[in-house]
Symmetry: C2
Subunit: 430 residues, 2 copies
Amino acid sequence: MTAPLKSIEGTGDLAAAMAAIGRGARTAARILALAPAAQKDHALTAMAAAVRAQAPAILAANAEDADEARKGGATGAFIDRLVLNGARIEGMAAGIETVRGLADPVGTTIDAWTRPNGLNIERVRVPLGVIGIIYESRPNVTADAGALSLKSGNAAILRGGSDSARSSRAIHAALVEGLREAGLPEAAIQLVPTRDRAAVGLMLAGLDGNIDVIVPRGGKSLVARVQTEARVPVFAHLEGNCHIYVDGAAALDMAKTVVLNAKMRRTGVCGAAETLLVDRAIAKTHLKPLVEMLLAAGCEVRGDEATRAIDTRVKTATEDDWATEYLDAIIAVRVVDGVAGAIEHIESHGSHHTDAIVTDDAAAANKFLTEVDSAIVLHNASTQFADGGEFGFGAEIGIATGRLHARGPVGVEQLTTFKYRIRGNGQIRP
Amino acid sequence: MTAPLKSIEGTGDLAAAMAAIGRGARTAARILALAPAAQKDHALTAMAAAVRAQAPAILAANAEDADEARKGGATGAFIDRLVLNGARIEGMAAGIETVRGLADPVGTTIDAWTRPNGLNIERVRVPLGVIGIIYESRPNVTADAGALSLKSGNAAILRGGSDSARSSRAIHAALVEGLREAGLPEAAIQLVPTRDRAAVGLMLAGLDGNIDVIVPRGGKSLVARVQTEARVPVFAHLEGNCHIYVDGAAALDMAKTVVLNAKMRRTGVCGAAETLLVDRAIAKTHLKPLVEMLLAAGCEVRGDEATRAIDTRVKTATEDDWATEYLDAIIAVRVVDGVAGAIEHIESHGSHHTDAIVTDDAAAANKFLTEVDSAIVLHNASTQFADGGEFGFGAEIGIATGRLHARGPVGVEQLTTFKYRIRGNGQIRP
């Protein structure tokens, strides 16, 4: 049995303890910002080895978490996310090694130019500083977020879900061993040692300026709390109400393949399609086979009048359906007037996350890609490609639905900012 | 005399009026995001012409503002910022033409790559959407901010200072004439038609999601209010506590020229140096001539013990002095132990805005440029180059002191975000 949770609950001094975590993170961030790539990679290699070596301790801690959750009446899906096994631990270790293999973004030159007065200006990548990550009871996020933060030169303050506190602590111990082996400060990756939800509020307030950005990874109640309370920038993931539009110039075969994948590959991911739009021009030939394919795949279909007319199993779509992220085997279907009608529907009802068009008409595709104001727009490809790994980012900390700084998958590059480095030979300003 | 201010005060429905402004801006933003560069440039040309043509009306409105301010007991400096004349109006018109001459950032490809599965991914610039600009009584900001927002494809909601309300309204009328002539929506640049400060609160709350970013341009009380109330991202300008460090390997002549310019060219700008750090290794040869030069130029010098020892006119610097942005002819001076000592001082006391080193030692320069964590770091050049125009950005809406998205001068490029445009030929995700 693992030791009882090291805790700062009940000490009456949560604020002081959290402030100390913030200061420690800031100090570590200054060191990390200047750490050579080889030293960070050394730590990541050692972290992966420590996760593997400490698998028994991690599994034991996780078993206690799972027991407690089961006694507390958690759902099967919740337990499934929480429970670790040998394969999942190996997945975590391999994930850390994937991050180690990425190019180090820190110090790279984004842009450089020389002014008429001879000043040479460079824009170079630097870390954001301290990242606060607030997540639910998925223990693997502890490893993922810690590794990504370190690779990008940032200190991390991790606040995991209460139900996986022991698991997170055991995984965190392995990460710290990796930091130690590489001679990096242990405060580079800190785990908030309390289940007290007031700690989340203190993080959202920024810990006296010692958190530069918050990454919330959780359900709607966390997101709502973050929206209300955060006093620092947030990389938030809101909704993925994604659309797939089958244009009049779409080949039916490709439309069927792409629509089925976009909706049914995994229904619970943010890139899953929630609404199918079909061009009125080909409704006669394409709508019925698409709807029948979806029904045959076990997908509930909620349609407008035109869609209901082709199959009695189609239920009625209401206005709410156009705005709903089902995250389930349900799809809303509507017939629209060409690409302009599709764009109008998406801009009125979508969440600006990921939207796709299937068409052989290059002009229609360009219009869609230009006019749909979403983080990710695709032509002839599944919406389920909305993923940092699929973009080639190697790993991601989430998909940002805000418009500023990070939009779409948030990988190591998105975890950096920049500064201007200017070299002169005595220039003064007239 | 101009007509009384069109106002929504006292109608009891400020919230509804502001919400309508937000919706109008969002609709205009969708049109602006797709407007060709030529159409935006047409509008900017027409705006500059209208500002020149309507100079008499603008001057008359400004005279009323100035009268009211004088009767209200405004200071000379305040009146100076408020009052327009023919040259200042020509400056505004020329400023709009400068913005017109910039490259259109919208639609440019930032990055592009092809995945092993054949998906072609492009990262392209798109406008931010709707920008809310809250500023004090500098009427020229109405023209500057309106022109920069339009060029970058964004709708603008302008909330100018109460004391320049008539001037802003007259300038705004000229901008709207330009929009009209180019066939762009008049709601592309809206001026909040009330002096009620509650309008600022509504803007900071985001007008029902219809403001994407807030740019505050004002004093400390506005910045404090924004920090507390803003529920949308902010490009804030906090402090510019800038340093200039004269290294042991600095040539005295260059050090004198650069220090004098950094401190005294204009003392009220954010890039003005506030603290001079001198390497102990050359204090004997360099400190006295630098201090005497500053005193001779009319600058008050507040120094540490070593600095006070060389001239009796040097006052005592306290801990507060190291953290103060004087924006005046005052400088704090301290002797430090080499570049490491300078970096330690700057990281402990600075505001991460702009800092410079003077040295002939390339290694010292590189250390400084790498380790000082400021938006702008310079080698052998004046801190007063902290300016969008001097960077070649043509024009700026301000200098951002945050770390995310925009850092340093905020020009048209910084007023854009990006989206991913992906082209496939039927790819589905395994």
